[in-house]
Amino acid sequence: MIRFSHVHKSFTRSGVALQDVSFQVNKGEFVFITGPSGAGKSTILKLCFFEELPTRGEVKVCGTSSVLYKPVEVPRLRRRLGIVFQDFRLLEDRSVEANVAFALEVTGTPAAQVSGRVSRLLTQVGLAAKATALPRELSGGEQQRVAIARALANDPVVLVADEPTGNLDERATRGIFQLFRDINASGTAVLMATHDLDLVRRSECRTIEVTRGQIVFDSAADGGMRPSLARPAVEVDE
């Protein structure tokens, strides 16, 4: 589904972002990408939806290879992915339902089907009652749910989420995470970048840890839990 083979990525100004990164995400998997800020998590995700291209190596997503692809294939690839960001990226001047409908309309869904699908998606994310609200009238968690509904609009095979809970409080984080688990349970693979280690520890999902542009731990390959993710022991003062 997603395969990184010896991927290097460097930027003209900021230098090396990824070095020799290789991993694979299989159908229906739930994978966390963790690591400190600037480790390369977001670059990995951008490579997944071809927002960036590797400097060396190959990224293959849903059959589209970064080495062999033609530019016209990128929109087609993105329709097979759902993309969610920390800052929601909603259209502020459109209602919740219009934001979700937008994703369907721009990908050529027949007009007659749009309304029904939008209702189903909003019900799925628990926002059916707020269909006509504007994004600014919603809480952060609700806005992220709208973004998730939009990401699900084209029935993606993989959901790529970059710090989706980064702007949310703990309760909203739990709700959003549960939503991701539900989506994953219905067969959609999820690749989620986060530095919320509590969330990672609780989930027991596959975890890939990135540091300074390199994969330093992959629970699928290394097994168990990375020591850096283990809950620190509580020290008792004598």
């Binding site: 309309e105 721009v106 084209n154």
Partner: protein, 282 residues
């Protein structure tokens, strides 16, 4: 396509001030170009009126028979360059001289002025070389005593026309380039104002063609509205000029239509360039 139209119209509703600013900028850029066009048009008309007076006058020798002159009139009238040809008899020449030079009317005696064949030329055949060549073709008739076409005057007029054409072309081109730059920048602002929307469209898998379509429609509509507004402004300017300065001519309907179409095309091209550049960068 329906969605692209809807998005283009929504853009007007969502950002009415920016849209109004774009249309006004386009209108004033085209208005400046239109004003220059009006000046060029009226200078051209004035020159054409003067050019209409370019004629070749072949003086007919005394005693030439009517048969010879009428045969020559037929031949000369068949020249492809000929707009009109006529015979001015001695009596008509005298009458005209007395009419035009009223205070010297006593000076002119009967038979003092010769008859002449006067040839006017079609537009496009009034340059000095052509006029000279046609005069030479008429000169071969035996009965032609002398032939005149104001050679010096025709040359000066031709030079003036060339200067006016060159000035019109270079100034017109400058105005057009300035208009395209201003309009392009205005549309670029509109594109940047919707950068977020474009980014989201790309993320959800919209093709570049799909993203471009509403902007192209929007640019076309803005250009058309700007062109219409420029035409109205030019008309108002003409009314003021006619009332307070000089009687001038306005564009005919085709020129007006071409002006509005030019606005639409500039709007379309400006949008295509701006959104194309933006899509390449993001």
């Amino acid at each position: 396509m329906r969605l692209a139209f809807r998005e283009a119209l929504l853009a007007f509703r969502r950002a009415p001030m920016l849209s109004a600013l774009s249309i006004t900028t386009i209108a004033f850029s085209l208005f400046a170009f239109g004003l220059f066009g009006l000046v060029a048009l009226n200078i051209r008309n004035a020159l054409r009126e003067v050019e209409d007076r370019v004629e070749i006058r072949a003086f007919v020798a005394d005693g030439t028979g009517a048969e010879a002159t009428s045969a020559a009139l037929g031949d000369i009238g068949a020249f492809p360059e000929a707009a009109s040809v006529r015979l001015v008899t001695q009596a008509q020449a005298l009458d005209r001289a007395r009419r035009e030079l009223g205070e010297f009317s006593d000076v002119f005696e009967e038979g003092i002025l010769p008859a002449s064949i006067e040839l006017r030329l079609k537009p496009g055949f009034r340059d000095p070389a052509t006029v000279r060549a046609i005069a030479k073709r008429i000169e071969v008739y035996d009965f032609v005593d002398d032939i005149r076409f104001g050679e010096e005057w025709v040359e000066k007029l031709h030079r003036l026309r060339n200067i006016a054409t060159l000035a019109a072309a270079s100034l017109g081109l400058t105005f057009a380039v300035v208009a395209v730059i201003i309009i392009g920048s205005t549309i670029r602002m509109a594109v940047l104002a919707r950068a977020r929307e474009i980014a989201i469209m790309r993320l959800v898998g919209a093709t570049d063609g799909f993203i471009r379509a509403p902007f192209l429609i929007e640019g076309f509509l803005k250009g058309t509205l700007g062109g219409l507004l420029a035409l109205v402004l030019a008309w108002v300017a003409l009314v003021i000029i006619n009332r307070f300065v000089v009687q001038a001519t306005f564009f005919d309907q085709w020129m007006g239509a071409v002006g509005v179409l030019a606005g639409a095309c500039i709007g379309l091209a400006g949008s295509a360039l701006s959104v194309g550049r933006h899509l390449k960068r993001v």
